[in-house]
Symmetry: C2
C-alpha cells in the first residue's frame, strides 16, 4: 500500500520555465521599442523595466506605459505597441516546459499517481500556460490561489487541494521551487515536501529550508523520491 497518493506541483519555474521566458520576452520587448524609435539605450531601458516590475509586480498591465514615464519620455503608443508585440510573440513562441516536466508527469500517470497543481497568479494567465503547453490532461485538479481567494503559503489553499482529492495530508507531496510559499506552506498542513532548486527564485527565503523533506535539482529526480517514500517504511529522510 502506497503512502503517497497525490503529487502536487507548483506551476511557475516548476513545470513551466517562466522566469527564463519572462527574461527573454522583456529583452525582446525593449529591443523592439528601441528599433521603433524609443530614444534610449538598451541597458538603461531594461534595468528601468526590471525595477518597475519589482515595484508594481509582473501582472501589472501598464509596464511599457510606465517605462516611458519613468524614463521621462513622451508618451508614444507606437513604442508601447512595439513592446507589447515583441513581448507577446516571445511569450507564445518561446513558452517551454521545465526540462523533463512532461516526461515526469507521464511516468507518474503510468504509475497510477494522482496529480494536481497548486499555484499563485492570475487564473486566466496560469491556465493559458497550462493549455498552451497542453499539460491540462495530466491533472485531476488545478488550484489557482487568486481564483480560490487565498495565496500560498496560506493553509487554506493546500487544504482545499487535499479536499479536492479526498486524501489526508500525509498522503500528498508538494513539489515547488519556492521555499516559503511551496515548501513551508505545504509542510505546515502536514504534506511531504520536495524543494525543486530551479530558476531565479531558488535561493530566496533560505530560512525556510528546514521545511523541505527532499531537495532535487532536476524534475525527473522526483521519481526516486517517490520510490524512497513508497518503497520503504522509513519515516524520515534528510534533505539534501
Amino acid at each position: 500500500m502506497r503512502r503517497i497518493k497525490v503529487i502536487f506541483f507548483d506551476l511557475d519555474d516548476t513545470l513551466v520555465d517562466t522566469s527564463k521566458l519572462a527574461e527573454v520576452a522583456r529583452k525582446n520587448a525593449i529591443e523592439n521599442m528601441i528599433r521603433h524609435g524609443m530614444p534610449v539605450d538598451f541597458d538603461t531601458a531594461y534595468n528601468e523595466l526590471l525595477e518597475l516590475i519589482k515595484e508594481y509586480g509582473s501582472n501589472f498591465p501598464y509596464h511599457f506605459d510606465y517605462l516611458l514615464r519613468r524614463l521621462d519620455l513622451e508618451y508614444n503608443p507606437k513604442w508601447v505597441a512595439a513592446g507589447v508585440i515583441a513581448y507577446h510573440n516571445t511569450k507564445f513562441t518561446y513558452l517551454r516546459e521545465v526540462p523533463g516536466a512532461r516526461k515526469t508527469l507521464l511516468r507518474l500517470k503510468k504509475e497510477g499517481y494522482m496529480t494536481g497543481i497548486i499555484t499563485d497568479g492570475n487564473p486566466i494567465k496560469q491556465w493559458e500556460k497550462i493549455l498552451r503547453l497542453e499539460l491540462d490532461d495530466f491533472f485531476e485538479h488545478v488550484m489557482i490561489s487568486d481564483f480560490e481567494g487565498v495565496k500560498k503559503p496560506h493553509p487554506k489553499i493546500f487544504k482545499k487541494a487535499l479536499k479536492a482529492f479526498n486524501v489526508k495530508p500525509e498522503e500528498a507531496i508538494m513539489v515547488g521551487d519556492r521555499l516559503y510559499s511551496d515548501i513551508y506552506g505545504a509542510k505546515n498542513v502536514g504534506m511531504k515536501t520536495v524543494w525543486f532548486k530551479y530558476g531565479k527564485y531558488a535561493e530566496l527565503d533560505l530560512e525556510y529550508k528546514e521545511y523541505a523533506d527532499y531537495v532535487i535539482t532536476e524534475l525527473p529526480q522526483l521519481l526516486e523520491v517517490l520510490e524512497r517514500e513508497n518503497g520503504s517504511d522509513k519515516e524520515v529522510h534528510s534533505s539534501g
Copy 2:
C-alpha cells in the same frame, strides 16, 4: 501642379482586414472554449458573444468572462483562457492587409504622395496592427482619435491631421469604409472623399452617401481617382 498632395486612410477595413479577422478569431475562441469543456453548443455561444460585443464594444476586456455569465455558466478560468488563446493565436497569425493595400501604398509613395492614417480605436491596438503588418514606414503621420482625445467624424481630428502635414483641406483626400465617420467627417472640413465600399460596415449610414466624391470597391482604384483629380482641371466629379 498637383491639387491633391496628401492621402489619408482609415485603418480598419480600409488598410487592415479587421472585421474578417475578428470574425475568424471569435469563432476560433468559441470553438476552443467548447473543446475545453464549456457545455454549450457553438451557435448559442457565438450568437451570445456577438450580442455581448454589440452591447459592450469590441475593446471591452471581459468578453469571455461576461459570456459565461450571460450563458448562466459557472465561472471557469480555463474556458476563458482557452478563448483568449484561440483569439490571440488567430489575431496574430491571420492578420491581413485589405487586398492590394501595400501595393497601392507603394505606388503612392513612388508617385511622391504624402500619406497618413486617421483612425478611431485604442492607440496601442491600432499601432499593433500597423506594426505587425509592417505598414508604419509608409506613413508620415498616424492620427489615432483615442490618443488625440477626439473621435471621427469630429472636425478636430481631421484638422489636426491636416496641420501635421501643413496642407489645406482641398489638398487632401480621405479614403475610408465608413460613410459617417470617414466620409461625412472629412468632407465637413473640406477634404475630397473616397468611399471604399468594403467590409461589413460598408452599407451603414447610407444617408451620408452624398458626401462621397468617389466610390471604389477595390483599393487600387484609388490610383485612378488620383489621376482624375490631379490630371485635369475639372472641379466636380460625380460619385459612383
